[in-house]
Amino acid sequence: MEILDGKGGFVSAHWDGTTETELAIKDETKATIRCIPIDNPQEVGVCIKSGKPSTQRVLFARAY
């Protein structure tokens, strides 16, 4: 999350797909999920917040 405090930009990271985790990340970092990119490649990973399994990365950023 130091990226957000520095240059900013999109952070492509794994998310477990729950609104609960999405809001927890927002509370902690002020970053929201901007979108799940179209034609997003599916890949196995773990959620950056909850550690639960995830199937794809999404784009986080602080936004206007």
């Binding site: 179209i38 784009l59 602080r62």
Partner: protein, 436 residues
């Protein structure tokens, strides 16, 4: 001139507000959260609007206009929709004022209370789908591809010129389809139009994607978005396209007879971009000296400045160059002001973001040249000018002009890609292609 504009390094938020106000795009209004769009800002918006309108019409859409006021009861017909918008609705309760008995001014006449309160539209799905019930009976009435250019009101607590204002201008498309597949395809077609407009007209690379359940439009099944990145590294949602499923058809009982003579609910989409795009344009491209406006949207694309002031022989040459540029479809202005010094004028044009400036001095003229300056890179070059062959000069200006256009795009695309997408390399390259 830059002194009156806060630098980005000092305070990015203030830099943006300074630019919007001092370049004459917009200003605060008497009502908090509202804005006045000034002529220069409106001229840019008109270019955006005209191009989007062409793109909508090229894909089979037509324009119509629906009322500003919506019966309150309409909003409660779609449960999620009302939940999403209830907190920011402006409500009309009365229709008359009268003089106060103590002479202190006008007051609301309590006898003029409306039986049913009216909502100033925050978006028009409800009133439009209530109308579509009368317009759609058969599969022959579909698809219905309608757009409206309008103002809407959303009572926002924290506002910022163009980016978030209580009243704003936008377009809202509302389409009706016989099948889910057709409606989904429409949703994606419009997303693509928005992305192409952002990239090709605003020189603004965007990411196309799907919103999460938490972030999607109230009443939609899926919300697609284009997301842009501003110079401070914050994202800006720049346009959305919604697949509404049959939610509004069910809420307003809009059914059609299929070819097979069964009766089914209609499938819907809605999509919009707003004056928020003006904020995106300013934030994405400009610098500490002022605006940088991509040439396609610039109200004036080339400004010709006689130096030190418009002497007769300089004016004649300026007119010749301007005529040639105009003949090539370029928007040109000649600065005939003889009050201000060239240095002041140059700074003003930098602040306004005019893409190309042609300086025309007596010494240049003796040498047979003019000075062509680009706003985005601040590069200056001397170009040959023959009074008998002004076409050549025009061509030179034109090529500079086209370079400016592509340069802005390359620059923004590069900066967005260099540092701004952290974590996934494969995705990076696909965006590069899209932007360039």
């Amino acid at each position: 001139m830059s002194k009156e504009i806060t630098s980005r390094a000092d305070d990015y938020a203030q830099w943006y507000i300074d630019l919007v106000r001092k370049a004459g795009l917009a200003d605060y209004a008497a009502v908090k959260g509202c804005m006045v769009i000034k002529p220069y800002g409106f001229a840019i918006w008109e270019h955006m609007r005209d191009q989007l309108d062409r793109m909508f019409k090229d894909t089979g859409h037509v324009n119509a206009y629906f009322p500003l006021l919506i019966p309150k009861s309409f909003l409660s017909k779609e449960a999620q929709h009302v939940e999403g918008f209830a907190k920011e609705c402006a409500v009309v309760t009365h229709y008359r004022l009268k003089n106060a008995e103590d002479g202190s001014g006008v007051v609301v006449d309590p006898d003029a209370k409306l039986e049913e309160e009216l909502i100033i539209r925050p978006t028009s799905e409800t009133i439009i789908w209530n109308t579509y019930r009368d317009w759609i009976q058969s599969h022959r009435d579909l698809p219905l591809l309608i757009n409206q250019w309008a103002n809407v009101v959303r009572w926002e607590m924290r506002t910022r010129l163009f980016l978030r204002t209580t009243e704003f201008l936008w377009q809202e498309g509302h389409t009706a389809h016989a099948t889910r597949e057709e409606a989904v395809a429409e949703t994606l077609t419009m997303l693509d139009i928005y992305a192409r407009f952002a990239e090709e007209w605003m020189a603004l690379p965007v990411v196309r994607g799907l919103k999460t359940v938490n972030e999607r439009f109230a009443g939609a099944e899926d919300t697609y978005t284009i997301e842009a990145l501003m110079q401070d590294g914050k994202a800006l949602q720049s346009g959305t396209s919604h697949f509404l499923g049959q939610n509004f058809a069910k809420a307003f009982d809009v059914k059609f007879a299929t070819k097979e003579n069964t009766v089914e609910f209609v499938w819907a989409t809605s999509w919009g971009v707003s004056t928020r795009l003006m904020g995106a344009l300013v934030m994405a491209h400009s610098d500490d000296e002022g605006l940088i406006i991509p040439p396609k949207l610039a109200p004036t694309q080339v400004v010709i400045v006689p130096i030190p002031k418009p002497l007769p022989e300089l004016t004649e040459v300026a007119n010749t160059i301007a005529a040639d540029l105009k003949a090539r479809g370029i928007r040109v202005k000649i600065d005939n002001d003889d009050q201000n010094r060239p240095g002041f004028k140059f700074a003003e044009y930098e602040k306004l973001g005019m893409p190309v400036r042609i300086g025309l001095g007596a010494r240049d003229l003796a040498n047979g040249t003019v000075e062509v300056a680009r706003r985005d890179t601040k590069e200056k070059s001397s170009r040959v000018f023959h009074s008998t062959d002004s076409v050549r000069t025009s061509s030179n200006c034109l090529s500079t002009f086209r370079q400016t256009c592509s340069n802005v795009r390359v620059r923004t695309a590069t900066s967005i890609l260099h540092l701004r997408i952290h974590g996934q390399s494969s995705w990076r390259s696909s965006t590069a292609r899209a932007a360039l």
